[in-house]
Symmetry: C2
């Protein structure tokens, strides 16, 4: 089923009709056998997750290089032990872990994608327990990477293992592709993808790196925002200067930094980079209505974040602002004296990390060029700038009508005991667009996490019940993909 | 001569006529005896300065509390050894070192002010040699506090010691007042001043904490800028958030910080705090002409700072911008992730240290109130602010015609071999206005430093030849003050 080229016509399969179909008696027996096996293995699955979370595989920090490699080795050992044909593929950066089960003629091929690297754990002093010593609290496992993405990625590894250890084989061919550079832009994976289209050929890509809509409300995410991510460095005098003796004549890099960054957005929350909104499509009325119907509790949301109010682009609801509108955020900033008490200097340097979240059809490269020109045009004499383009990825949407989406919906219903809702997500998985483009495959974003999992902050967590529900949904997914009519 | 109240009429003494007066044969003999003594002691004077510079008396950093006290103790030992009546006076913060010589009836009283605390040494990695291990380089002594103010302050201690060890007494009464909180606002000294007006009564206050106009161009500084110094802290969500999941709806404290700080100044370099310029007096044509006539080398200035251009308030020369116009500078700034690589978060907090340099007649308290109101009025929902008012001091000018200024001019001419020029200085010595107001005394700012001494930056230095010239000028100053006509 893999040899097709170009886009397929989409089958208008109604979600309701599919989700009430009954599997054959035999497959029903197989699934209940697998469910029993999963239940019996739950302690072992958690122990494995804890083992992986103990490895501080922070890809952004070169001091953790050997830890990142250790996480890759851990996965290779685990996948090979399941009986999968497994390979550790070197890249210019961190290696790619690849494994596959045998082909199943006439059945679809699913490529499972995940990542074994994690975000830096800073600020360290806000963790209640150390980030790389997983702790159980309130039904959650707390550790850096618990939900993003070690915990979620492992649900698929374990569902595959469960099929192999119970049935002895999988009902479809699965290919596992697990990288170590997702948190720093996936550049080497992108190259690997382009160069290995044949090997990676598949019908759908399964990714669990997103969230449910809310606790007890599993979701399929049909849209993601893109990202464009930068560091701006300003250099002024060759060293810090006395602000009394020199202030007023010498250009202050910190002052210029605030001026440049403030110029990037207006009072209505609209980004000011020339041409920024040129490719942004307005939201459809259908989407706006569907989202408005989703239950949201503004009070609880603010309380969860610890804020007394929100602000954002004027004219859009909170979900619209977070899911489908582009943004500008400063992620980090530094200059001069940060210690106790005053210090009256003109700092020699100032810098900031900042990012735009993009929506489908915005082009990161075009935005980078316009940004660079805009910043340079505003630079006064006495300060030099360097703009570092960390990485960019366009936004992404999948058709709601896809039969793969329907199969996933059924699997989630069985794994979680309730039908998933269709949502978008404000975050970015830069590789998603690449998968869709390079492999011409449908991408299924099946998130088992929660919005308050603190994925990039301190005390990241993953609900252990959802971990096990995710494994079950994943195990059922292979069955439902195998059951899809041949014409797909 | 101390019992006067209110302002005295100023004597129109011409500088030229005074500087050509010849001292009596006896005083000439005394001065040459002192000059010889100073020359014989130069190694010992340098050794003493090095000893004091080794003490890391950083008043802004509470980790250095015992070091700051050690510097005070060092001075007490030194001054008592000279035979001065010496006292270590406790305050709510760091102690005040006070010493005095016996009264000399019919002669003026000079109060010598200095400080034994220093600025923090950050950024540490830019020092060529460690900040508290004084090193000799290119005729300079390099160490934190070398010029600001340990080296300069010590010139007066040593000139007083020289008189006592050669002549056996001073020709006037000197009172030494050396504090340990100049770099953090001198609050306790201000209280001490108000409460000890009788004890500190004097005709002139001598302070060496400024610079010469250029190497070989000693100067008397007749004006200083004031200062208003703040820290702004913004608090958003209770912890860092994923900028994908939450970006667009959640107020970003770093973004708001740049917006607030950028709003404080316009494109022409004018501060936007309401009422900021209300009390600012325009520069006189005479001053503008005098300063325009001072030799300045724009190329060399920029090269010294390592910049390719300057910027500042439109319509003013570089000296005017630095000496006599108010400014806004950011001194430090922080938020979110400052490590290697990208990290896509909305930071929980952001903060900045910033300061205004003020000119005579601007009122720091009024500016603080207007600033607070201006910032608060711009704060969006979802972020809380705290404005910390570190310290403020108004600007200062002294009359050029004062006979004390003339006496100082003569002493400097003998100490440095050339007549001083009359300049202003952009820095602030917050206590100066207090001296003038509380003691009704003339303040003489006799700086032995250089503009490129890096007083608040790394590799602070003090020219050793100027150190010795300063001691000689100081020793001659006591003589010339004693020689002033009784009617002063």
């Amino acid at each position: 089923m893999v040899s097709r080229v170009g886009h397929r016509p989409l089958l208008p399969v109604a979600l309701a009709s599919l989700s009430t179909q009954h599997p054959s008696a035999m497959s029903s027996e197989i699934l209940s056998q697998i469910d029993q096996f999963l239940e019996s293995q739950s302690d072992r699955f958690e122990a494995q997750l804890i083992e992986l979370l103990r490895i501080p595989s922070v890809s952004a920090d070169s001091q953790h290089a050997s830890d990142v490699r250790q996480a890759a080795d851990w996965l290779v050992t685990r996948l090979a032990a399941c009986g999968l044909s497994t390979e550790l593929i070197p890249t210019a950066g961190y290696p790619i872990v690849y494994a596959e089960s045998p082909p199943v003629p006439g059945k679809p091929v699913a490529l499972i994608y995940g990542h074994y690297d994690v975000q830096p754990p800073d600020p360290l002093d806000e963790w209640i327990t150390p980030p790389f010593e997983p702790a159980r609290r309130d039904g959650n496992l707390v550790a850096r990477g618990a939900t993003d993405d070690k915990g979620q990625m492992l649900t698929h590894v374990q569902s595959v293992a469960a099929w192999l250890q119970t049935v002895g084989h999988l009902p479809i061919q699965v290919k596992l592709l697990i990288e170590g550079e997702e948190e720093v832009g996936s550049e080497n994976l992108e190259m690997f993808l382009v160069e290995n289209r044949e090997r990676l050929a598949c019908d759908c890509v399964v990714i669990s790196d997103t969230s449910q809509f809310a606790p007890g409300r599993p979701a399929i995410t049909y849209g993601l925002r893109g990202i464009a991510c930068y560091e701006l460095r300003l250099t002024g005098p060759k060293q810090d200067l006395h602000s009394g003796s020199f202030g007023g004549a010498v250009t202050n890099p910190a002052k210029e930094l605030t001026r440049l960054l403030a110029s990037l957005i207006d009072d209505e929350g609209r980004v000011q980079v020339p041409g920024f909104y040129d490719q942004v499509e307005p939201l459809s009325e259908v989407e706006r209505e569907q989202w408005a119907a989703l239950p949201t509790d503004e009070q609880a949301f603010q309380q969860q974040l610890g804020v007394k109010g929100l602000s954002g682009e004027r004219g859009y609801s909170q979900l619209e602002q977070r899911w489908a509108r582009p943004t500008f955020d400063i992620n980090g900033m530094w200059s001069g004296y940060q210690g106790e008490g005053p210090k009256t200097i003109i700092p020699a340097r100032a810098g900031a990390k900042f990012s735009f979240r993009l929506v489908p059809y915005q082009d990161p490269a075009k935005i980078t060029a316009a940004l660079q020109a805009m910043l340079e045009s505003q630079l006064p004499p006495g300060v030099e700038m360097e703009l570092i383009d960390y990485h960019g990825a366009p936004g992404f949407v999948v058709p709601l009508e896809s039969p793969y989406v329907q199969a996933a919906s059924r699997a989630i219903e069985q794994g979680f005991g309730t039908r998933p809702v269709m949502i978008r997500e404000g975050g970015s998985i830069p590789i998603v667009t690449q998968f869709a483009e390079q492999l011409q495959a449908e991408v299924l974003l099946l998130g088992w996490g929660q919005d308050d999992d603190n994925t990039h902050g301190p005390n990241e967590k993953f609900c252990l019940a959802d971990f096990h529900r995710g494994i079950r949904a994943s195990a059922h997914l292979w069955h439902h993909l195998a059951a899809l009519p041949d014409s797909v």
